[in-house]
């Protein structure tokens, strides 16, 4: 159907979108005066930049996948099971969103000082100032968001389909894998995108847990932070641009691949 929107309505739709787009373009373009060719060249030829990019991509991807690995079953459990304390648990999940990442990083460090944290350490998993710490920090920041989004996705899927699938011969696990999971595909892709974006941009908790050692635990955002805290704006701008470009490229690809019907 031709939508037949009258002009006022169409304007009410398009104007906010246009304003937002303009604003974001301004945010992107405002950097231009601070951009400086020689810094760009210097930065691009630096080997620590490559390290930072690699670490950022790898850690964001691992953290996101790990978060989804937890969030898919946890979100499904929250959507379908009923148990005492479910509401409390749900509220607990707001923790990492509500908290400033730096504070969250601090809480992670504090938690590592508790008996369970020390037990983890005794198993050989050292988080402070390691790459594992980078991933753990990013995981912590995004996992709750992933659970929340997937819970919402699963709630939208009528349990009817699972009923029918089970009568057709599927086990509980089978009907989850064959029916519910594919039906939640859009939600899963959306939460992958949001979590990955958040993870690759995450810096507060990462820096707190893993520090900023160049070539070791410094991600792109922590390099940006370093440049800014050394008041080196032109380097910061270059790094910001690189972060934006890389992320946009990856997210565009994910959309392209995920957008296709399986």
């Amino acid at each position: 159907m031709t939508p037949h929107h009258n002009r006022a309505f169409r304007l009410a739709l398009v104007l906010p979108l246009g304003l937002l787009a303009g604003y974001f373009l301004l945010l992107l373009g405002g950097q231009a005066p601070y951009l400086n060719g020689s810094t760009l060249r210097a930065e691009l030829s630096s080997s620590t930049l490559l390290d930072a990019i690699r670490l950022s991509l790898v850690s964001a991807t691992i953290a996101t996948l790990a978060a989804l690995a937890f969030a898919v079953p946890a979100g499904y459990a929250l959507a379908r099971l009923n148990f005492p304390g479910k509401r409390l648990l749900d509220t607990l999940l707001d923790l990492p969103v509500v908290l400033t990442p730096v504070a969250l990083g601090t809480l992670i460090l504090m938690a590592l000082n508790t008996p369970p944290g020390r037990f983890l350490h005794s198993l050989g998993l050292t988080l402070p100032f390691t790459v594992a710490g980078v991933i753990a920090a990013q995981f912590t920041v995004v996992v709750a968001m992933a659970v929340r989004m997937l819970k919402a996705s699963f709630e939208e899927i009528s349990p009817r389909y699972e009923q029918v699938a089970r009568l057709l011969g599927c086990s509980a696990g089978g009907s989850f894998l064959r029916v519910t999971l594919p039906l939640a595909r859009r939600g899963i892709i959306a939460s992958f995108i949001l979590c990955w974006a958040r993870a690759i941009g995450e810096f507060g908790a990462t820096v707190m847990v893993a520090g900023t050692a160049r070539g070791q635990t410094a991600t792109l955002p922590s390099s940006i932070y370093l440049a800014m805290s050394a008041a080196d704006l032109s380097r910061a701008v270059v790094l910001i641009l690189i972060l934006i470009l890389i992320s946009f490229a990856v997210l565009f690809l994910v959309r392209l691949v995920g957008g296709r019907r399986p």
Partner: protein
Amino acid sequence: DEITVFAGSASQPPLEELAAAYRQQTGNRVILHFGGSGTMLNQIRLTGAGDLYIPGSPDFLSKAQRFQLLDPGAKILAYLLPAIIVPKGNPAKISGLNDLARPGLRVGMADPEGVCVGLYGVELLAFNHQLEKVRPNLVGMVESCAKAAAMIPLGQVDAVLGWREFGSWNPAASEVILLRPEQIPRIAYIPAAVIRTSSRKRAAGDFLRFLTGPEGAAVFARWGYITDETDIRRLAPQATLGGEYPLPGDWQ
């Protein structure tokens, strides 16, 4: 051997250069973590990691000592001198402290309740009886040295009351207006100390000596720092070195 250094981000360029030089000379690797000095202090406190702590200002040294995180024998790597920083070309035509009181001027400063440069700035204004006059012009209280320094290139303010060294962090965008020597009640410094829980104290001490030695001084000087006490005394003869200044009771 490999040592881990937690350093305030202000000293990033000279330290990176020195770490590289040190590695070439001794083969020992120095892992540098930069960040806010207070944040790093928390990290040391919570994890017990690291060998050497180089905060951006002396107040963090005292805090760390209060938490008994450091070995005795802290060293000074460079001195920090209060000054006015203005955008390149000094568009607001500021020549000294009194000009900061000019109505309508936007003056930036770090938060005196946590950042050394802010605290010393307040003292400086009070010492020169300018505090009440400049106060209406103080627009932002940022929470770190670096942000105070960045206020000029980002065009947020007309002048920043900060360290003289801010000028050399952003030579292209900023200009330093030095104060008259008798106006300066207190100066600061970049200290360095070995962390108590370090497991490589000898190596840490070696690197600390390298930093305070001639090569270290030369590099810091090249990045615009004053490393020699006699030099700084020329610019601020009566100033106290480090220490804390109690904020006036009506400060809010």
